[in-house]
Amino acid sequence: MTAQPQPNSFRTGPDERGRFGIYGGRFVAETLMPLILQLEAEYRSAKDDPAFQAEMGSYRTHYIGRPSPLYFAERLTEHLGGAKVYLKREELNHTGSHKVNNVLGQILLARRMGKKRIIAETGAGSHGVATATLCARFGLQCVVYMGAVDVARQAPNVFRMKMLGAEVVPVESGSRTLKDALNEALRDWVSNVHDTFYCIGTVAGPHPYPEMVRDFQSVIGEETRAQMLEAEGRLPDSLFACVGGGSNAIGLFHPFLDDTDVAIYGVEAAGFGLSGLNAASIAGGAPGILHGNRTYLLMDKDGQIEEGHSISAGLDYPGVGPEHAWLNDIGRVKYLSATDDEAVNAFQVLTKLEGIIPALESAHAIAKVLELAPGLPKDHLMVVNLSGRGDKDVPQIAERLGTKL
């Protein structure tokens, strides 16, 4: 990494053009540009509106069930014999993952803007389920784009979305996974600009989405800070989160970015391994432009986007949020990766030791905790974001372990 001058604060981005260093921006068709500007203006006014914040706070408490606990994983800690491991229990949120934090914010914003039709993309289905849930709650029309490959491997979530009243559209174009679902959602948005709100599920897309989604997810890190101070009287020494697009990770990290004694680790999906098919955009990609922003992308030397591979449908996006790309270059966050095998192992370890079945996505972060915690002193405080629960992954794990359900 080239040494770069460090900014006074790591928390001031993006700039007015939506850039985090060279990353981010607004690389969209002209048709969408006026909508994005309008969204940004509306978001700024909502952010400063105490009534909006109060409404969001109330739903967070009574509908999502926040704050989520910061749980000391005692048996996992004993088993590893090193750092003291805490789990931020985002899997206990209503709908079972961190995705709902962001969806709540965006749906309240959509209501404020008078939009009646909500579209979303989903990979694992967590974001789709969260979006379908809030649309049911507020009586909004909901259309979820999901790659046909993911529809097949996340059947429980597909059925949940349908029960909630959403239309699930299997996307057959391109590689038929998350990136194609995003393309299709963007095409829908361009075609239905007058009444449609695009609820993006991660810190990707054109400005202001990466900033807005981060802000809605930062409740994770804000709570963690206060909870850790309460539990231990000091800040944690390290943070871990899995990185697909990077929303659960940035939500945990952002409130700690200026606490430079806190070591921060994002964990990408290494799939079959970094030399094989994987979804580690930072480790294996290069800067490029996709879905409205500049960031690290998996692509060939001609700039054609390559499919990410991960056992986890929520991590196989070939890009990563632009703020992560910047945090990587500037060296504030270190990005590691975990393979499919490591994730499946971590999934089983946590299930057996703590009685908590993690989402396969979250299991990638846990895999790195299993690897690193044993080598750290017992007074090292480690927080890992348990971004979602693993019920949706049970059929897939059963198949992998050779069990017929």
């Binding site: 969209v28 002209e30 006026p34 239905n192």
Partner: protein
């Protein structure tokens, strides 16, 4: 800089008609056939050529152009090969303007300066890059103008009067009016609404205004050509390519003719438009 685009629109204006702007995807269905198609377009009645640079994730395109891009990529088309096509076309045709159309990532990865220099040398006249709005002009638009390539911008139904001056500011060659808020090849536009939009654009610019998206038949072309300076047809042409392929997706002896026959019919539609009026 030789202004082939300006000269061509001046010529069609003198002839009292709109220009026919044809879009085909480079390397579709394969590199050689695509060069044959390209070379046959002017003779069939194309006034301006848009050559699509294939991309895996064309977010503004409908199924027809998506599929054409994937056919080309599967056949091994690359940005370098696309520039070879331009060069080969230009060897035999000095007059027909050729505009490269695509998405920013392949250009960015190739290197902006390198791309601009190679595209200019190959004989391209302009660029249409869908995912670069005026807010990102420093990326490619300003360097392109500097390098002597026109940067043709899309104006859309969502571009209001307040935004229009910004959209038109660094535009050169012509203005591409997107007839619908939507993707290529989808809905057919309401021609009355389009005519009003073209009139509005012409109050803001002296550049020629070409209209595209959803124009599929000679009748559509004629309806648009009554008021616009150019009519762009894309999805219908790449669909003609697709329909001509064999069971394995390979070109047949019908492929080039499938495109040129449709171009000839569209050209007749464009010529009929004002003759009838």
């Amino acid at each position: 800089m030789s202004d082939r685009i300006g000269a061509r629109f001046a010529q069609t204006a003198r002839e009292g008609r709109a220009a026919l702007v044809t879009f085909v995807t480079a390397g579709d269905p394969d590199h050689e056939t695509s060069l044959e198609i390209l070379r046959a377009l002017p003779g069939a009645g194309a006034d301006v050529i848009e050559l699509g640079m294939p991309f895996t994730d064309p977010m503004a395109d409908g199924p027809a152009i998506q599929a054409a891009g994937l056919r080309a990529l599967a056949g091994g088309e690359t940005l370098v090969k696309t520039l070879d096509l331009v060069r080969a076309f230009r060897e035999q045709d000095q007059a027909t303007p050729l505009v490269l159309m695509g998405y920013y990532n392949p250009i960015y990865v190739h290197g902006v300066q390198r791309f601009l220099q190679e595209a200019k040398e190959a004989g391209a006249d302009g660029l249409i890059v869908v995912d670069l709005p005026p807010e990102e002009d420093e990326e490619l638009c300003l360097p392109a103008l500097e390098a002597g390539l026109a940067f043709i911008r899309l104006a859309t139904p969502t571009t209001d009067d307040a935004r229009l001056p910004m959209v038109l500011k660094n535009t050169a060659g012509f203005v591409y009016y997107v007839s619908i808020a939507g993707i290529t090849g989808a809905a057919t536009p309401d021609f009355t609404v389009v005519a009003e939009a073209v009139a509005r654009l012409k109050r803001h610019t002296t550049l020629p205004v070409a209209v595209g998206f959803g124009v599929k038949t000679p009748e559509h072309a004629a309806a648009i050509a009554a008021g616009a300076d150019g009519v762009v047809v894309g999805s219908a042409l790449v669909d003609a390519v697709r329909s001509s392929l064999d069971g394995q997706g390979r070109a047949t002896e019908k492929t080039v003719a499938a495109v040129t026959d449709l171009v000839a019919a569209l050209a007749a539609g464009v010529r009929r438009a004002r003759a009838a009026a």
